[in-house]
């Protein structure tokens, strides 16, 4: 593009405006109060509790997602069956579902008077206003991110590698563990990072399904809202926000690096 053309100047302005608009709030979070005040606000008991709870619940949710989702994704990626595309679409539905809708839907399914509420109760599990409920909400909204990436990663494995493993005496599990998993590694990891990012930011579904009880169901995003609602809580809301921004940035960077890794490997293979 000619650098002196009026169109180039306009496009450059548009790019600048976009960047400024997207970054201004991020910068403001750190600049509004200054590092000293932010660190002091983090010393607050309820903020620390919220961050720890976020860490605990998101990690639990991720563990469940990986444990159940990985073999499920492997099966869905490698089997042809009637209605497969319907199943794949259904898995992605929570991706586009508004969080508040997800919360209501979870209540309708697993709440005390929900469709499966009796089942949950007779299993001796309490979800509403309980940490377990937070985990359920997190799994519901973030699992699709992991599943999508995992299915794509498993589907792109050269099927002959798995066949080679089998002719060498490897049963289905060994072929999965020694050939499929290593081959899908980068795809699985980037799916995991995306799911974690989504789980860390989860707000609506958790609020509706599990409530916002400090120390029990009040994760960092809910604590930010609680702080914000207090007359003098703006700075501590900012402090929590700053932490979440940092964690999200690290996750995003991780995804980018993994994605780059995969791209360069593909180039090498060609």
């Amino acid at each position: 593009m000619n650098r002196r053309s009026p169109f180039f100047v306009l496009a450059a302005l548009a790019a600048l405006l976009t960047l400024a608009f997207l970054l201004a709030p991020v910068v403001a979070v750190f600049a509004y109060a200054g590092p000293g005040q932010l660190l002091a606000a983090l010393g607050d008991e309820s903020s620390r509790e919220a961050l720890l709870l976020s860490l605990r619940t998101t990690l639990t949710a991720l563990a469940l997602i990986v444990l159940v989702g990985t073999p499920a994704a492997y099966l869905l990626a490698n089997r042809e069956f009637r209605g497969r595309s319907l199943v794949l679409t259904a898995i992605e539905l929570p991706l586009v579902m508004p969080p508040a809708v997800a919360g209501i839907a979870l209540l309708a399914a697993f709440g005390p008077s929900g469709l499966l509420g009796g089942l949950v109760e007779s299993a001796g599990v309490e979800l509403v206003f309980q940490t377990a409920g937070v985990v359920v909400a997190l799994v519901f909204v973030s699992a699709p991110f992991f599943l999508r990436a995992a299915i794509a990663a498993f589907a792109s494995i050269d099927g002959r590698l798995l066949e080679a493993a089998r002719t060498l005496g490897a049963g289905p599990f060994r072929a999965f563990a020694t050939v499929a998993l290593p081959s899908a590694r980068t795809g699985l990891a980037s799916g995991l990072a995306l799911a974690w990012g989504r789980a860390l930011g989860e707000f609506g579904a958790t609020l509706l399904f599990a409530g916002s009880l400090q120390g029990v169901t009040q994760t960092a995003p809910l604590a930010i809202f609680a702080d914000f609602s207090r007359p003098d809580g703006f700075v501590s809301a900012l402090a929590l926000s700053a932490v979440l921004i940092l964690v999200s940035a690290v996750l995003l960077l991780g995804v980018k690096l993994l994605g780059g890794d995969r791209a360069s490997e593909g180039a090498a293979a060609r």
Binding site: D158, R160, L161, E163, A164, A165, R166, T167, L168, G169, A170, G171, P172, A175, T178, V179, P182, S183, A268, A269
Partner: protein, 363 residues
Amino acid sequence: MSSAPATQGPVLRARVGTPLREFELAVEIEARGGEPLALVGPSGAGKSSLLRVIAGLLRPREGRVEVGAEAWLDTGRSLDLPAERRGCGLLFQDYALFPRMSAWRNVAYGVGGRRRERRAAALQMLERFGVAGLAEARPATLSGGERQRVALARALAARPRVLLLDEPLSALDSASRRGAVAELRSALAELEAPTVLVTHSFDEAALLSGRMAILDRGRLVQTGTAAEISAAPSSPFVADFAGAIVLRGEASAEPSGLTLVRLEGGGELHSTDAGRGPVAASVYPWEISLEQPRAQSSGSLLNRLDGEVVSITTVGNRARVGVSTPQPLIAEITADSAARMSLRPGVRITAAWKASATRLIPL
């Protein structure tokens, strides 16, 4: 098929009937150790599907696969042993090495036991194929020829009860292919396990196998040795497919700059190719002309072998004439010429062709 010499080791028998995309695969084959069977045919003839059925990677609509007295597949009895329990080595066309494992881990994959023993067995097998120095290398860093060796080492390290090779040389460039033929030949000859290899090249099959089975659109159209098939192709398709004649012998350099090949069983010929020691000399049937035995060499045809006409197969306007030289030869001449020379079985004849039409492949 029963004319094959009795060899040690079990016999692989496979009978398969299953629909493929455009036609029905319906074949029956038999293979023994030490005498590889080549399935030859154009791409998409069903060769690889047959290998996949034997390996247990494709379940046919109906069929039986047995090795010795042990049945792997019998659709009549609903028996279908999973691939991992068949012990059937398969060399994939593009080798399918595990990209995230080093060469030795690839080879050790099918070996049982402790890590140290597995590594030792893998290194020994890599050594046998001259690639022990690459034990720590990842497949992506290997050349085509090196990958082929590692893949063969991997298949053999697992001590397969049957070895299947899917186009074992097709991923190699023509320079590495020449060396690989000799190497593969000796590796296969030592093997007690029944061996089946698939190739779309008649010449490759002639070099690597004892017997071949020609497959076209899911059917076996002819089985026999390369010489038998070349001598009496059962159809124009087979005639077109049967490429060069392969004669084995011992090569030595001559002062003239040509290479002299003393043929196994008697007779000699010349080639413009360089070569020493055991070689396969190949020539295309349509390069060979037939002359009366008394005719003295006056032209440029340096290679002359005498024999009797044993067969005449007319394919369209061509006649393929089998000649009983010590290693049988086929000449392809026009049907008109065959009639004019009143060729018939029993007539003595001289087969002649140019040294420059004779290719040498080291064995």
